[in-house]
């Protein structure tokens, strides 16, 4: 089947890539664009390890076709730090021990990145429901909740 050229913004940089229509966004990010921070965990849109920010919303990139990203904007964990400065969430995950094996972490960060824009001052319960699309097998979530909460506090305008 003929390949198609698509163009989108990836981590604020324009990219062009030749794809088959059936290629999943997560595969194109990882294999063609070498952004391997976005992971594949379940492939049925349950685990959230493949979460990226797409046109200002969190999506599971295992269940989005790359061709659907044509003309859009995608932000992955690789684009979270700005000019060499870590995002407050990245700092908080380290500070509060919000990760262990690290496999779910990019998805957790990308979801919490968007979540804190949707809800800048969440309660613990709101964090838990806002992050319910991301699975972690290592941490038991408690320290991730803590990290998101402490990042939220840091991100509050003074």
């Amino acid at each position: 089947m003929a390949k198609k050229l698509i163009a989108f913004k990836l981590n604020n940089q324009p990219v062009e890539v030749l794809i088959e229509a059936r290629e999943l966004l997560v595969h194109v990010l990882r294999e063609q664009l070498a952004q391997t921070g976005t992971h594949i965990g379940c492939e049925t849109s349950h685990c959230g390890a493949c979460t990226v920010d797409f046109n200002g919303e969190s999506v599971k990139s295992c269940t989005v076709l790359a061709i659907q990203a044509n003309g859009g904007e995608v932000l992955t964990v690789e684009g979270l730090a700005q000019n060499g400065t870590l995002h407050p969430l990245q700092e908080a995950f380290m500070q509060d021990h919000g990760l262990q094996c690290g496999f779910c972490t990019p998805g957790m960060l990308m979801r919490s990145f968007r979540f804190l824009q949707e809800n800048p001052d969440p309660t613990e319960e709101e964090i838990r429901s806002g992050m319910a699309g991301n699975l972690c097998r290592c941490t038991g979530y408690q320290n991730i909740v803590k990290a998101v909460k402490s990042a939220a506090a840091k991100m509050q305008p003074a």
Binding site: T44, S58, V59, K60, T63, A132, G133
Partner: protein, 289 residues
């Protein structure tokens, strides 16, 4: 898990989409948010040769007020429903249901039209549409027609939508004084289909229930209205004893299949319990309205 090959189409308008569907009657498939269809394609259960993406079509988006009705574009996502001030104000039942669907990321892609068109007995909007007495607006080569929700859901994956038609919008009545709703869904965990769900919309005139619709999720081949308990409650002052009688009738109306969520007996009981809760919630809200 990798989908088979297909040709991708992204029509700009509904008419273009309908035309594409007409060109590929046997092997064309509409994709909305894709969270039901893409997993089936990745498992190679579904292998459409032509995938017609309607997710981005502008005329399928948006929520507007049309007199006493709300018109919801078919491609409105669950997240957009939850965020909509209009829906929150005029039809909060939809918000409550949408919040219980899947998880935040999936709700950003999942659409109300896709949820309804798929015909899965486990989907949540069908029962909500039945309880609201909604209209499903569909368009095909012959133009637009409206199908009442009660005539829409025919069986597992079988709906009144013709293969050459697309759902364009949903029309639901805005809530009126004296109307109350209840939505209760039992699920094993976040992201699961309901073990059983019950949606109730009722209207009180004084203390008398003069209108009630009870719709059930995942306890039959499709979402359906439980008419016997409705008939029992209609025109009555609903009290606990009556709710209990209604719950038994709910149970009798269920025909669930056994799966990992439970056997038929459990599911029938859970449908009854969800119905009890939804009737009580609806009553409380109707009295508060």
């Amino acid at each position: 898990m990798i989908p088979g090959e297909f040709e991708y189409h992204a029509p700009a308008t509904v008419d273009d989409a309908i035309q594409l569907l007409a060109q590929h009657p046997d092997d064309g498939k509409i994709i909305a948010g894709g969270h039901s269809l893409l997993p089936m394609m990745k498992l190679r259960f579904a292998e459409p040769a032509h995938l017609i993406n309607i997710f981005e079509i502008p005329e399928l988006k948006g929520i507007t007020e049309e007199g006493s009705m709300l018109r919801i574009g078919a491609m409105t996502t669950e997240s957009e429903l939850i965020r909509s001030a209009l829906i929150n104000q005029k039809c909060p039942l939809i918000v409550e249901a949408a919040k219980m669907i899947a998880d935040p990321q999936v709700r950003n892609r999942g659409t109300i039209g896709g949820d309804i068109a798929h015909g899965d007995p486990g989907n949540d909007h069908p029962a909500v549409m039945l309880a609201l007495d909604a209209d499903i607006v569909v368009k095909g080569p012959q133009g637009e027609r409206t199908i009442a929700a009660k005539d829409f859901f025919l069986g597992t994956y079988v709906t009144a939508l013709e293969p050459n038609e697309i759902i364009t919008a949903i029309r639901v009545p805005a809530s009126t004084p004296g109307t109350g709703y209840g939505f209760n869904k039992l699920k094993r965990k976040t992201g699961d289909f309901a073990t059983a769900g019950a949606t109730v919309v009722l209207h009180l005139k004084g203390n008398t229930c003069d209108e009630i619709r009870i719709a059930l999720t995942n306890v039959g081949p499709t979402a359906f209205r439980a008419e016997a308990p409705e008939a029992l409650l209609q025109g009555r002052e609903i009290d606990d004893a009556l709710i209990e009688q209604a719950a038994i009738k709910v149970m009798e109306s269920c025909a669930p299949a056994e799966d990992l969520r439970g056997d038929a007996e459990y599911k029938c009981h859970m449908a009854a319990e969800m119905a009890r809760r939804s009737i009580r919630d609806a009553l409380a809200r109707a009295k508060g309205n």
